[in-house]
């Protein structure tokens, strides 16, 4: 079955969603990520959705679930790269992705994760 690859980078897991998400694929990703966090003791998960052309209520709910599950497993989730048209649509749809940390791009997202693990970097 089709799967979304999960890469490990130090204490973080990275996921880039590049396919058009079926509902089942979204469910599988949710399970796979939860298992990988528990196996690896990862402290953070970065999900890049810059290739996603839409986020509907199902995908939005999946992102919320991943954030909630990883929090319970002591890992922080950051969703990065949301396209502006997707953001506008999500808000109008009535989803504000509560409980999901977001960042504009991968760099900013990694910074959020590092800070959540190490505390803010001393200047």
């Amino acid at each position: 079955m089709e799967k979304i690859p999960i890469l490990r980078m130090g204490e973080f897991l990275l996921v880039t969603i590049q396919v058009d998400m079926h509902d089942r694929l979204a469910m599988t990703l949710q399970e796979d990520l939860t298992n990988r966090i528990s196996e690896t003791g990862a402290r953070g998960v970065l999900i890049d959705i810059s290739s996603l052309e839409i986020v509907d209520s199902f995908i939005g709910r999946m992102l919320g679930n991943i954030a909630a599950m990883s929090r319970v497993l002591d890992a922080q989730t950051v969703v990065v790269g949301m396209q502006p048209a997707v953001a506008i649509t999500l808000v109008e749809l009535g989803m504000s992705l509560q409980g999901v940390r977001t960042a504009l791009n991968v760099d900013a997202g990694m910074e959020v994760l590092r800070e959540s693990v190490d505390g803010p970097r001393a200047m």
Partner: protein, 133 residues
């Protein structure tokens, strides 16, 4: 207003939901909707396609490009499922009989310019969406 082009596709499985998004995107871009309007229409279509599959037991989508004083896209989802007993309740945010967030119908309505729903218990549901250019 006249229908320039009309096409009907099946909406009965999860992969059909993905196909609906693709076809709606194609048509919306041909008609010349802006990127934001395309995204809104595709998202609304995705919500309704899922309803058709999950609650309606499968059905069809009729895709139409409209011309006249204004151009636009009209989408008509039809199923022969159990129907919706209380439409007003079903349109409300947060209402769900399934496992979703209950944003499907109300959310989809906010994403388009025109939204009509007809449902008869035991016979099925028909939802028409229009997004104008």
């Amino acid at each position: 207003m006249s229908v320039v082009h009309s096409d009907t596709i099946p909406v009965s499985s999860e992969s059909d939901i993905v196909m609906v998004r693709r076809r709606v995107r194609e048509l919306a871009s041909q008609v010349g909707l802006s990127l934001v309007d395309q995204t809104k229409l595709v998202t609304a279509a995705s919500e309704l396609a899922r309803n058709t599959v999950v609650y309606g037991g499968g059905g069809t989508l009729q895709l139409e490009s409209l011309n006249g004083p204004r151009s636009g896209v009209r989408l008509i989802f039809t199923d022969q499922g159990p129907g919706i007993p209380d439409l007003e309740l079903a349109m409300r945010d947060g209402f769900t009989t399934g496992t979703g967030l209950g944003l499907g119908l109300g959310g989809a309505k906010r994403l388009v310019n025109e939204f009509q729903i007809q449902s008869t218990v035991g016979l099925g549901t028909k939802v028409a969406l229009t997004r104008w250019k």
